[in-house]
Amino acid sequence: MDFVQNFPFFSILLSLGSGVLTSIMSKRVARLWNMFILIVITVMSAVLFVYLLGVREPYTFMMGHFPAPWGNEIRAGVLEAGMALFFCMIMLLSLIGGQEHLDKEIEDTKINLYYIMVNLLLSSLLALIYTNDLFTAYVFVEINTISACGLIMITQSGRTIEAATRYMIMASLGSGLLLMGLCVLYDITGHLLMSNIKDSVAFVYAQGTYNIPLVASIGMVVVGLAIKSALYPFHTWLPDAYGYSTVSSAAILSSLVSKGYIFLLIKIFFRVVGFEIIVDTRIVNILFVFGLLGMIMGSVNAILENDIRRMIAFSSVAQIGYIYMGFGLGTTMGIVASIFHILSHASTKSLLFVAGVGLTDASGESRKFADLTGSGFRNPMAGIAFTIGACSMVGIPLFSGFISKMQFAEAAVQNSLQKMLPTLICLAVSTVLNAIYFMKTVIRIYTPASKNVKRTQAGEAAIIGVKEHPLYNVALILMILLNVVLGCCSQPIVDWIIDGLAMFG
């Protein structure tokens, strides 16, 4: 066994352990330590990714001393390693971009607690990506939820506590369903390791004796994870949670936390149940309908919103709808498009959140659209970044959003007519709606502020120079680069996703 193969285990353990360590550190040391650990894990994931691209073969890693049917396992292929690398990068950039706000909005004694949550969140995300054991996945789903709740409520205001409570209620509903589904699945198949369950499920499904419990358990798992990742009718907690938490939290929550659950769902589709059976049980059709609903309703809600942060949050509802719509197409192409959209949405949404906060800072901390007029001139870097993020979300070529929309359309065209037409129509409508609220904002921030507009807070807002916030600008530039790379060099990335999915099952 190569030494590199230990890296998934190392990275999970490292972030878990450093989470505990940061509790006794001072604010400054905790921040540096957290950066260091994040960079180390990013580098390890990158090395593993390159190694796996060379080997082109997934491997399983035995956790503890007991072999396959009983012990716990880690399984890594190119898709997992690439996802881990991507998640680490986004987390690093979101933390750098929101650092000043962390200092401003969180009490000094609590900043190291914030880094505990970040580390626990990262370790649970990595574990969700790498684990090959369903019950381990459940435990880390819970760790993910609890640390995400901590990220929301670290800024102590009525809004955030209420948002965290709502989030916990919805998440508990989701994890209750997930746990029950896993228990029934374990009961039917007698295994907890994903690969073993797949064999048993294929056997049981072919026999046809336990079809109702099997479909019910898969349904519970899928609905549970859909609730946790805020698919449309279950999105009520989302705007408050993303809108009022500190900016790093919002960026991390929208681009990573929900994506971790979605990645687990893809894993369940391909490795636990088998995609043919999932399609055959027609569970995907339900996801398809709710995905389409989410695409439209999320955008409509975003148009009605008068608060830039909440508008970006509602846009997440629409984008989660896109991802589930890709699942609903029921083809591998649809899943590839969804995975690409996970990447594209994660990079764009974190960019939008971080850029949005720069704009509100330049408008005297106000988040209302009326006060944002001309803020693109007051904070040029944030204005440019927001415009690029908006273009990407709408689907302008050169940026990542365009590629994911094209992938969705391609996947839809190869599908049957019943699914092709609604998909294409909803894609078109949703794109127009996206354009309405994003372009409205972009035009607003580049309209010179007339002198009649009164600034209620803090008098005339100061012009924020590019040089004043070096870290913030570096984070924005890196995010823009990531976005453009996803948009311009999409073919290797799509090939990577297709390869990864092939060795996923």
Binding site: C149, I161, S175, G176, L179, C183
Partner: protein, 124 residues
Amino acid sequence: MGGNLFVNYGEAVAMILFGIGFSNLLLQKNLIKKIIGLNIMDTATYLFLAEKGYIAGRVAPIVVNGNTSVEKYINPVPSGLVLTGIVVSVSVTALMLSLTIRLYRRYHTLDMDEISTMLKKEDQ
């Protein structure tokens, strides 16, 4: 179908309890009642696992008198899962309760809807 339901009455009860807990967590306005619903839901899952793990007439999986025959013992894995699940649900409950305390101190009510209306008023 109906016969199976009667034989596996433990599992059936677990499922009914799960439904009760789930709807309580979803529909109750009072936060404490929501948390009670959460606990009922989790406990129902453990009941289900315990029912599934037990095989009538067998003993706890501890080797006595050197008898290592598989036929003698029950399946130990569900018990392990129940233990893990209990730990998870304890921590989730503790977190929910602490959030409830904070909300109560701020708004002097346990009603989620009232808290939302107060928040809306705060904004204006």
